[in-house]
C-alpha cells in the first residue's frame, strides 16, 4: 500500500509531465503553422516575370514566333542559375499553344509561380508567353 506522501509525489510528477507535454505540443503546433512557402513563391514569381521581361525586350519571343524556333528561349532558360527550373509556353491570342520549352533536367515542380507577358509580332498579331518557375 502506497503511503500518502508517495501518492502525492506521484500525482505531482504526473501533473508536471502532463503540463510539460501540453506546452511542448502547443509549441510544436504553433511552429508547424509557419512555412517559407510564400517567400519561395514570391522568389519564383520574380524570376518568371523578370525572365519574360528580358525575353520580350530582347525580342527573343518575337524571334521565336517569326522563325518558329525555340533556340533563343532555350539558351536563356539554360543560362539561369542551376537551382532554378523554368518552362516557357507561347500562345496566340486565342490561347492556342504555339511553342513550348522546359529546362533540361527539371521535372518535379515544388512550389512554382507563373507570370505572363503579352507581345505583338511584326505582322501586328497578338501573342502571350507564360513562364512557370520553381526551385529544384
Amino acid at each position: 500500500m502506497l503511503s500518502k506522501k508517495t501518492m502525492i509525489f506521484t500525482l505531482d510528477a504526473l501533473l508536471a509531465i502532463s503540463i510539460a507535454i501540453l506546452i511542448a505540443s502547443s509549441c510544436f503546433v504553433f511552429l508547424s503553422k509557419t512555412s517559407s512557402g510564400v517567400y519561395h513563391v514570391r522568389g519564383a514569381y520574380l524570376i518568371s516575370s523578370d525572365s519574360l521581361t528580358v525575353l520580350e525586350k530582347s525580342d527573343a519571343l518575337k524571334e521565336a514566333i517569326t522563325l518558329n524556333s525555340t533556340t533563343s528561349i532555350e539558351e536563356f532558360i539554360g543560362g539561369m542559375p542551376s537551382q532554378v527550373c523554368g518552362s516557357v509556353t507561347v500562345y496566340d491570342s486565342l490561347s492556342s499553344s504555339k511553342l513550348s520549352v522546359q529546362r533540361e533536367g527539371c521535372t518535379s515542380k515544388n512550389l512554382s509561380a507563373v507570370a505572363y507577358r503579352v507581345f505583338v509580332d511584326d505582322e501586328e498579331n497578338i501573342y502571350y508567353a507564360k513562364m512557370e518557375s520553381w526551385y529544384r
Binding site: A16, I19, A20, I23, S26, C27, F30, L31, K33, T34, V38, Y39, V41, R42, Y45, L46, S49, T53, E56, S93, S95, A115, Y116, R117, V118, F119, V120, E124, I126, Y128, K130
Partner: protein, 278 residues
C-alpha cells in the same frame, strides 16, 4: 525541502510559459510578415502587368516612336513612324489589343483590367496636340494652334521617278521644312505658313501613281492641323519634329488610361499611359 521543491516547480513552469509566449509572439509576427509579403507581391504583380500592357504598345501596334522631348528655346517633340501604309487599319488593331487585354489577359492574370480612351491616337500635353495614325495618314491636330513655332519633317520612300512636285506659298509665321528622300532623288522645301489658313501642300507625285503629301493649316475645319499623307506607297517618317512655344508645365506624351484591379487582394490602380516625358 518543501520550499526548494516549490521554487523548482515555479521556475520550471515559468520557463515553459516563456517558451510558449515566445513561440506565440513569433507566430503572430510571422503572420504579419506573410501578409506584408502577399501585399508586396500583389503590388509587384500590378506594376509588372502595367508595364507589360503599356510598355511598347504604341510603338508595336502604331509603329509610332517618340524619340525625344527637349525644352530649350522651343519645347520640341520629335517622333518617327516606320512603315506608313494605307494597308493597315490601326484603329482596328488597337481595338483588338484592347479586347484581348480586357478578356483573355485579364482572366489568366486573375485581374480586372480596363483600357479607356485607348485608340490610334496619342496626346502631347500641355499643348493639346493629338497625333493620330490612320492607315497611310498621320494627323497632328493642335487645339492651341498658335503654340506651334516650327515643324521639320523627313520622309523616305522607295518610290522613284518624281513626275511633279510642289510647295505652298508663304502665308504666316510657322516655319515648315519638308525633306522627302526617294529612290534616285530628293525633295527639300521650306515655307512659313499660317496655321489658320487652308494652305496648299508640299507634295511629290511619282510615276507609279503614288504620292507623298505634307499639309499644314486649317484642315477639315480644324486649324493648326499637320497632315502627312502617303498614298499607294509605303514610306518611313524618319523624323517629325514639332516645336512649340515654351510652357511652364512639363511636356509629356500620353496615351489612354489603364485601370488594374485585383479583387482578391482588394487593390486597384488607375493611371494614364505615359509614353514619354520631357
Amino acid at each position: 525541502m518543501k520550499r526548494k521543491s516549490m521554487l523548482f516547480t515555479v521556475t520550471t513552469t515559468l520557463l515553459f510559459l516563456s517558451i510558449l509566449i515566445l513561440i506565440v509572439s513569433y507566430l503572430g509576427r510571422y503572420n504579419e510578415l506573410e501578409s506584408m509579403a502577399s501585399t508586396s507581391m500583389a503590388g509587384s504583380r500590378m506594376s509588372y502587368i502595367e508595364d507589360d500592357i503599356t510598355g511598347k504598345v504604341y510603338s508595336d501596334i502604331l509603329s509610332l516612336n517618340v524619340e525625344s522631348i527637349t525644352e530649350e528655346a522651343y519645347a520640341t517633340v520629335i517622333f518617327n513612324h516606320s512603315n506608313l501604309t494605307s494597308d493597315i487599319d490601326h484603329g482596328q488593331l488597337m481595338k483588338d489589343y484592347e479586347s484581348f487585354i480586357e478578356g483573355s489577359y485579364s482572366t489568366i492574370n486573375n485581374a480586372e483590367i480596363t483600357l479607356t480612351n485607348f485608340t490610334n491616337s496619342i496626346f502631347i500635353m500641355p499643348y493639346g496636340s493629338t497625333i493620330t495614325v490612320e492607315g497611310g495618314v498621320i494627323y497632328v491636330f493642335t487645339e492651341n494652334a498658335s503654340s506651334i513655332s516650327e515643324v521639320n519633317i523627313s520622309v523616305s520612300t522607295g518610290e522613284s521617278s518624281n513626275i511633279s512636285e510642289g510647295r505652298p506659298s508663304n502665308s504666316g509665321s510657322v516655319d515648315l521644312s519638308v525633306d522627302i528622300d526617294y529612290s534616285g532623288g530628293s525633295f527639300s522645301e521650306t515655307a512659313s505658313l499660317d496655321p489658320a489658313a487652308a494652305n496648299d501642300p508640299f507634295y511629290v507625285n511619282f510615276e507609279s501613281g503614288s504620292r507623298v503629301e505634307v499639309r499644314f493649316g486649317s484642315h477639315g475645319g480644324r486649324e493648326g492641323t499637320l497632315v502627312l499623307n502617303v498614298s499607294h506607297a509605303a514610306a518611313d517618317l524618319s523624323r517629325v519634329s514639332v516645336g512649340y512655344e515654351p510652357s511652364s508645365e512639363k511636356v509629356k506624351v500620353v496615351g489612354g488610361n489603364i485601370s488594374i484591379s485585383f479583387p482578391v487582394e482588394n487593390m486597384t490602380k488607375t493611371s494614364e499611359i505615359l509614353i514619354s516625358e520631357g
